[in-house]
Amino acid sequence: DTAVSQTPKYLVTQMGNDKSIKCEQNLGHDTMYWYKQDSKKFLKIMFSYNNKELIINETVPNRFSPKSPDKAHLNLHINSLELGDSAVYFCASSLKTDTQYFGPGTRLTVL
């Protein structure tokens, strides 16, 4: 009965590779988010989708491309990975602007 799930939990890859992280929520929410937590644990929003439409797009390199195939799923694809992309990526969901519920995170390590 996991509310917000992410796969994979850990991702280790080489510089220059392309990787994807998947997120699914079963809460019936209409809005989903991606946040990045850096090595100092600072959390910053990257993207948000409402009903499959991109509504928040912070200053993120265009190597990052979110995709929302339906309201329950939000994926994050990263091209040409760089060392600085190493972080924990959190997915979250909410009903409009109500409380956001977070997934367990995906720890990405770029070597």
Binding site: L43, S48, I56, F90, T97, F102
Partner: protein
């Protein structure tokens, strides 16, 4: 500039003692206010939130927070800390004028609980 400040990066508290974590915000109007907790290697769990109404908010795990408009603060408290409360605590806000709920987080406070 709009900001969320958690002045204490690190707090050490004895088990059974009281805990207070500070959060201040700097925005033109009162935002929606949240406290989240992140246990080691885990995601973020909502402790409590304030949208409007009673300024003393009760949350899960015995936590409460008090909104003080005059001080632009939303401090988190727990009367008696348990060893399982050792975690990172984040204050976060959403502007009430924000249509899409962009959460802005403070830098976090790490809580260490000693026996």
């Amino acid at each position: 500039a709009q900001s969320v400040t958690q002045p204490d990066i690190h707090i050490t508290v004895s088990e059974g003692a009281s805990l207070e974590l500070r959060c201040n915000y700097s925005y033109g109007a009162t935002p929606y206010l949240f406290w989240y907790v992140q246990s080691p290697g885990q995601g973020l769990q909502l402790l409590l939130k304030y949208f409007s109404g009673d300024t003393l908010v009760q949350g899960i795990k015995g936590f409460e927070a008090e909104f003080k408009r005059s001080q632009s603060s939303f401090n988190l408290r727990k009367p008696s800390v348990h060893w399982s409360d050792a975690a990172e605590y984040f204050c976060a806000v959403v502007m009430t004028t924000d249509s899409w709920g962009k959460l802005q987080f403070g830098a976090g406070t790490q809580v260490v609980v000693t026996p």
